[in-house]
C-alpha cells in the first residue's frame, strides 16, 4: 500500500488542528478586536499612543528589552502580580492592541513594565536609568544604554533636554552635558505610555480581600 498519501494526510491534519486552534482562532477572535470607547473622556481603551511612543516601540525591539522585561499582569492564585502592584487587574488581549510587536515577554530578570508609566512618570528618571542604571539602582544588572545618548560641550546655557542629575563613572565632566538622541526620547516616550490601569469589562478588578 502506498504509505505516502496516508502519512501526508495524517501529518497535515494533526498539524492543521493546532493551526486552527492556536493560530486561526486567535486571529479571528482576538486579532480583529477594536478599542473600547471611553465615555468619560471621549477617548478609547487602550488609549492611542502618541507618535513618539510608537517610534519608541521600535527602539524597544531593536535593543532587545523584552528579553529581561515582561509586560503581563496575571491573576491570583497563579501569581501575586496584582498584590505586588504590577497592575490593578489582569492584562487581556485588548490591552495590547496598540503594540507592534507585542512585548509579552517570558523573563523577569528585570521588573515587569506593564504599568511602568504609572510607577515612574518622570522622563528624566528614565533617561538617568537608561544612561547608567547602576547609578539609580545600585544592585541592578541592567546594561547601560549610553550609546543612545550624546555627550556634548555646553554652549552657553545647558540644553533644555539635557539629562539632569547624572552621577557615577560616566557622568559628564565639567562643561559637558549628556543629551538624549531621538531614539532615547522615543524610547522614554514609549515607557511613559505604558499604563494599563484603565478599566476593561472583560477584565474586572479582582475583589478586594
Amino acid at each position: 500500500m502506498n504509505k505516502l498519501p496516508l502519512i501526508f494526510l495524517g501529518v497535515f491534519l494533526t498539524f492543521a488542528s493546532s493551526w486552527v486552534g492556536l493560530v486561526a482562532y486567535p486571529y479571528f477572535a482576538l486579532g480583529r478586536m477594536q478599542p473600547l470607547p471611553d465615555e468619560d473622556t471621549g477617548g478609547y481603551f487602550p488609549p492611542s499612543t502618541p507618535g513618539l511612543a510608537d517610534a519608541g516601540q521600535k527602539v524597544f525591539a531593536a535593543n532587545g528589552c523584552v528579553y529581561c522585561h515582561s509586560q503581563q499582569v496575571r491573576l491570583a492564585p497563579l501569581s501575586t502580580d496584582i498584590e505586588k502592584g504590577l497592575g490593578p487587574r489582569q492584562t487581556v488581549a485588548r490591552d495590547y492592541l496598540r503594540a507592534q510587536p507585542v512585548f509579552l515577554g517570558t523573563m523577569r530578570t528585570g521588573p515587569d513594565l506593564t504599568n511602568i508609566g504609572v510607577r515612574q512618570p518622570d522622563a528624566n528618571w528614565h533617561h538617568k536609568h537608561l544612561y547608567e542604571p547602576q547609578t539609580v539602582t545600585d544592585w541592578s544588572v541592567m546594561p547601560p544604554f549610553r550609546y543612545l545618548y550624546r555627550l556634548q560641550e555646553i554652549q552657553g546655557q545647558p540644553s533644555d533636554n539635557a539629562v539632569k542629575g547624572l552621577s557615577g563613572p560616566h557622568a559628564p565632566p565639567q562643561g559637558f552635558e549628556v543629551v538624549p538622541t531621538d531614539e532615547a526620547n522615543a524610547l522614554v516616550a514609549y515607557l511613559l505610555s505604558l499604563k494599563r490601569n484603565y478599566p476593561l469589562p472583560e477584565s474586572p478588578e479582582p475583589p478586594v480581600k
Binding site: P88, Q90, R119, T137, E202, E205
Partner: protein
C-alpha cells in the same frame, strides 16, 4: 553515478535498522486512557466555557466577578481598592515602601501629621505629585511621586482615610469637602511639589466633619480647631506607632 570506494566503515556496519513487533504494553494503554479522561475533565472545568472573553481559567462565565453596583459603598472599601490599584506598586501592600526607593506610609509624619506636616500637605501631594529629596522618618528618599489628580475627590479622600487608619496608623479621616477645597486652591499648579515648597506652606488640619462618618473604626476625630498654624504636634489626636 559515481560509486564510492567501499570503505571499511561501511563494510563493518550492521544491517539497516529493522522493526521488531512486540505488542504495546497494557499498562501504557491504560495510562493513555487515564490521561485522556483527566484531560477531558480539566478542559471542562478550566476553559471558561470556551469563550473568547473569559481570560480567567477559574471563572466559568464572564461577568461572574463583576463589581457589585449601586448603593453607597463603605469609603474604607473604596479607599483600600484605590490603594491596591494605584499605590501598592510603590508603597507596597504592607505600607512599608521599599527601602531607599519608596517611602513608608506606616508611622509616617507625612501621613499622620508632624512638626510641620499637615493634612493640607498630604492632599496637595496627591493632587500634584512630589519630587526631589524628602525626609521620611529620618530617611531620605529621592524619587518621583506622580500626581493623582485624575482620581475623584471621593477616591482621594477615601484612600487618604484608608492609609491613615491602616497598619496601626491612627489619624482622622480626610473629608471629601476638604479635598475639593484643596483641589480648587491648587487649580493652576502644574509642577509637582518639592519638600521645600510644602514646608513653606503653613500646616492645616481637616475641619471636623459634621456629616455622619462612614467608616465605623476610624479613631476619634481631632478636637483641634480648624485654623492653620499651631505647629505643635500636641494637637494630633493619637501618637503614631
Amino acid at each position: 553515478m559515481n560509486v564510492g570506494r567501499v570503505h571499511g566503515s561501511i563494510l563493518r556496519e550492521q544491517k539497516e535498522p529493522k522493526d521488531g513487533y512486540e505488542p504495546v504494553p497494557l499498562w501504557l494503554l491504560t495510562l493513555f486512557f487515564a490521561i485522556v479522561f483527566w484531560a477531558g475533565l480539566y478542559l471542562a472545568y478550566y476553559s471558561g466555557d470556551f469563550r473568547a472573553d473569559v481570560f480567567n481559567p477559574a471563572r466559568a462565565a464572564a461577568g461572574a466577578g463583576a463589581a457589585p453596583a449601586a448603593g453607597p459603598v463603605d469609603p474604607k472599601v473604596i479607599g483600600k481598592r484605590v490603594f491596591t490599584q494605584n499605590c501598592v506598586i510603590c508603597h507596597q501592600a504592607t505600607g512599608l515602601g521599599v527601602p531607599g526607593q519608596f517611602p513608608p506610609l506606616v508611622g509616617s509624619e507625612w501621613v499622620l501629621g508632624g512638626d510641620w506636616h499637615g493634612d493640607n500637605h498630604l492632599v496637595k501631594i496627591l493632587l500634584n505629585g512630589l519630587q526631589g529629596p524628602v525626609q521620611v522618618k529620618g530617611e531620605t528618599y529621592n524619587n518621583a511621586m506622580p500626581p493623582w489628580a485624575q482620581l475623584s475627590d471621593e477616591q482621594i479622600a477615601a484612600v487618604l482615610t484608608y492609609i491613615r487608619s491602616e497598619w496601626g496608623n491612627a489619624a482622622p479621616p480626610i473629608t471629601v469637602d476638604y479635598v475639593r477645597k484643596m483641589r480648587e486652591a491648587t487649580a493652576g499648579r502644574v509642577d509637582p511639589w518639592s519638600q521645600k515648597d510644602l514646608q513653606a506652606i503653613p500646616l492645616e488640619k481637616v475641619p471636623e466633619a459634621p456629616a455622619a462618618p462612614a467608616a465605623a473604626d476610624t479613631p476619634a476625630a481631632s478636637p483641634a480647631p480648624t485654623l492653620p498654624a499651631t505647629p505643635a504636634a500636641a494637637t494630633a489626636p493619637s501618637t503614631p506607632q
